[in-house]
């Protein structure tokens, strides 16, 4: 749906609509992705701990994708909302309600509120200003968490979190089965919401504003209001991801607010690809597998390889990294057609 297509005239307006609804329709790959995720619950029972981590990281990266991929806001401090949600969930579990789902919702709303308040700082200025403001917000929160040791436990972390069974029915166990299913369900539900969101007129106007803010505002799209909205939503998502981490590990430390977490998150999303929602979950899978593998090789120095990967990705070019999708799809098409033909032949023969 490029501008060239639109300029063809009224008749192509229908094409645009069709292309957009086509984009919003569930593809086979998407269904397969979630089917595999569901299958992993039953087929990989021994790996549920790391799978839960992947689901949490995937949700966190999805939240960054909402602002980076769909609104073009580069953030170096997205861990601020993750950490805020993590601490909020931990404190709620200790002082208010131990039930996880309630805690999750409240922590998400709290992080969204923080996101709403800080979003106005992000609106102004260039990419560089945004980078520094988001970084500053995260550092500030970390400093607050450090100073309020009576509340957060300071450098020792928030201890003594007891998480009640989910909905009063399923209690978290040491194998991580409940934790994984819980995280996966939360991820899936929030993914559905995000998917609906980015395919709605709101999401489309957001993309227009990302590509050309000036033109978008001249056709009546309120750019700033949309940025505030998506930033708030993304902060809420990040907060829920942080809350999931606290609830499944029954622990929160200042590490949740660290700069490294924000930086790693960028890598996760870049590895997975921005702007198509699956970048977060896919990147999380690749990242965790790689981390697992590299940490096995050199436990202490795995940041070195992460750094190398960053440099390599940029030098090769992010666009070129996903260029292989096109040729692979083209190569697979004849095979698919061949298979379909064989199936047809088999069906005909049965008749």
């Amino acid at each position: 749906m490029s501008t060239a297509e639109i300029s063809h005239g009224a008749s192509s307006l229908a094409d645009v609509g069709r292309s957009l609804t086509g984009e919003a329709r569930w593809g086979r790959c998407e269904i397969a992705f979630w089917a595999v995720a569901l299958a992993s619950v039953f087929l990989l029972p021994g790996r549920h701990l790391i799978l839960a981590e992947i689901a949490i990281l995937g949700l966190f990266a999805l939240s960054l994708d909402l602002i980076l991929g769909y609104a073009g806001i580069i953030s170096l401090g997205h861990a601020a909302y993750f950490g805020f949600g993590a601490y909020a969930a931990g404190l709620l579990a200790i002082h208010v309600v131990a039930e996880p789902v309630t805690g999750l919702v409240i922590a998400g709303l709290a992080a969204a509120l923080l996101g709403f308040l800080t979003s106005f700082l992000v609106l102004r200025g260039s990419d560089l200003t945004r980078l520094m403001v988001t970084l500053g917000v995260a550092l500030m929160l970390k400093e607050i968490a450090n100073q309020l040791a009576w509340l957060t436990g300071g450098a020792d972390g928030l201890q003594g979190i007891v998480v009640a069974p989910v909905l009063g029915l399923f209690s978290f166990d040491i194998t991580g089965h409940v934790a994984y299913v819980y995280c996966l369900i939360v991820l899936f539900v929030l993914f559905l919401v995000a998917r609906r969101l980015v395919n709605s007129p709101f999401g489309l106007s957001l993309r227009a504003a990302r590509d050309n803010p000036l033109r978008a505002s001249s056709i009546g799209i309120g750019v700033n209001r949309r940025l505030v909205a998506i930033y708030t939503i993304a902060a809420g998502y990040a907060g829920i991801a942080g809350a999931l981490l606290t609830q499944t590990t029954a622990f929160a430390s200042m590490d949740v607010l660290s700069f490294e977490r924000s930086a790693d998150l960028l890598l996760v999303l870049i590895v997975g690809g921005t702007g198509y929602l699956y970048g977060g979950p896919v990147g999380a899978i690749l990242f965790k597998l790689m981390q697992d593998w590299l940490a096995g090789l050199t436990p202490q120095y795995w940041q070195f390889w992460v750094g190398c990967l960053f440099v390599l990705i940029v030098l090769v070019g992010r666009e070129r990294m996903i260029d292989w999708i096109g040729p692979v799809r083209a190569a697979l098409r004849p095979i698919g057609a061949h298979l379909a033909a064989r199936l047809q032949v088999a069906r005909d023969a049965r008749k």
Partner: protein, 313 residues
């Protein structure tokens, strides 16, 4: 960030019960002097970034890597190879400058034209690599430079306690700032750089080799960061996470100082140095909180820097 406090216990004890104005005055002045030394150090560390980040618009989060390189080369030269501290300083400068030039020619150059996101990823990658590499080669413990005898201790001047080493820093960094101002404002290279910054196309048309000018500037900026790292190892604390810990400080100097002049960055560094030292001295509870707040406030209020000319935005 930990600022190592001067051992001052005897002094404190002697005046502990006196809240007389004299004591306060001395305290304030001594803190101010420490703050000035710290601020000048920050200026030398960060002035290279003013050019790459502020002027060339390249998001360079890896500036601290060069400072760390300078610091570690000094530690190795002085502590292990027995060089004199004063001989190690120029070597630290050259080493960092060479490293800067090498990286600029081989890697940075390819990233200049890319998007800010790419630049961020690239420079964060460099930071991660350098942190892990230094940790691997030298170890994660904090390093100290063996200072020569004459630089240790402090003396009193009109009742103000002045650390000898800090005095050296103030003098040296002050001279560097003056020299930079002179070079930029008066020399041929300075006018070339200013031309290249104001309008690269026209500068190229006039026969100025813009790429070479930027490379040289990058190298000198990296070298100065290395010199700052060598001087600051004793005050700022040197360990492999140095580039990460001080990234924000450098960014603050650039964002607060603006990019139009050396003096802006100089004033910003002094403000930051005095503010940070005073904050940690008088209200340790506040910690680093104040400077982050100031940074965000300045960025929102005047995105182009506190001392930038013209209107914000």
């Amino acid at each position: 960030m930990k600022l190592r406090r001067r051992p001052n216990r005897r002094f404190d004890a002697a005046f502990a019960n006196l809240s007389s104005p004299t004591y306060r005055g001395i305290g304030v002045l001594t803190v101010a002097f420490d703050g000035i030394a710290y601020g000048m150090l920050l200026f030398v560390l960060a002035c290279g970034l003013v050019v790459t980040l502020g002027v060339m618009n390249f998001v360079n989060l890896a500036h601290g890597v060069f400072a760390m390189a300078g610091g570690y080369i000094t530690v190795v030269l002085v502590n292990r190879l027995g060089f004199s501290f004063f001989a190690a300083l120029p070597i630290a400068f050259l080493f960092a400058a060479l490293l800067g030039l090498l990286l600029e020619q081989s890697l940075y150059r390819r990233v200049y034209a890319k998007s800010p996101l790419d630049q961020v990823l690239f420079t964060i990658g460099l930071v991660f690599v350098s942190v892990a590499a230094v940790d691997y080669v030298i170890g994660s413990q904090q390093q100290f430079v063996d200072l020569p005898g004459p630089l240790q201790g402090q003396f009193e001047l009109f009742g103000v306690g002045i650390g000898r080493y800090r005095l050296l820093i103030v003098v040296l960094c002050g001279l560097i700032a003056l020299a930079l101002q002179f070079i930029l404002a008066r020399s041929r290279f300075g006018s070339r750089l200013r031309a290249a910054v104001d309008d690269p196309r026209t500068a190229r048309g006039l026969g100025i080799n813009v790429g070479a000018v930027f490379s040289a500037t990058f190298a000198v900026g990296s070298g100065l960061a290395g010199l700052g790292g060598a001087l600051g190892a004793e005050i700022l604390g040197l360990d492999p996470t140095f580039p990460l810990k001080f990234m924000v400080y450098f960014l603050i100097v650039v964002s607060v100082g603006g990019t139009t002049s050396v003096s802006g960055a100089f004033l910003a560094s002094l403000l930051l140095g005095i503010g940070d030292v005073a904050g940690k001295y008088y209200v340790p509870k506040f910690g680093g909180f104040a400077i982050y707040t100031i940074m965000i406030a300045v960025l929102i209020w005047r995105p182009r820097g506190l001392f930038a000319r013209g209107t914000a935005r």
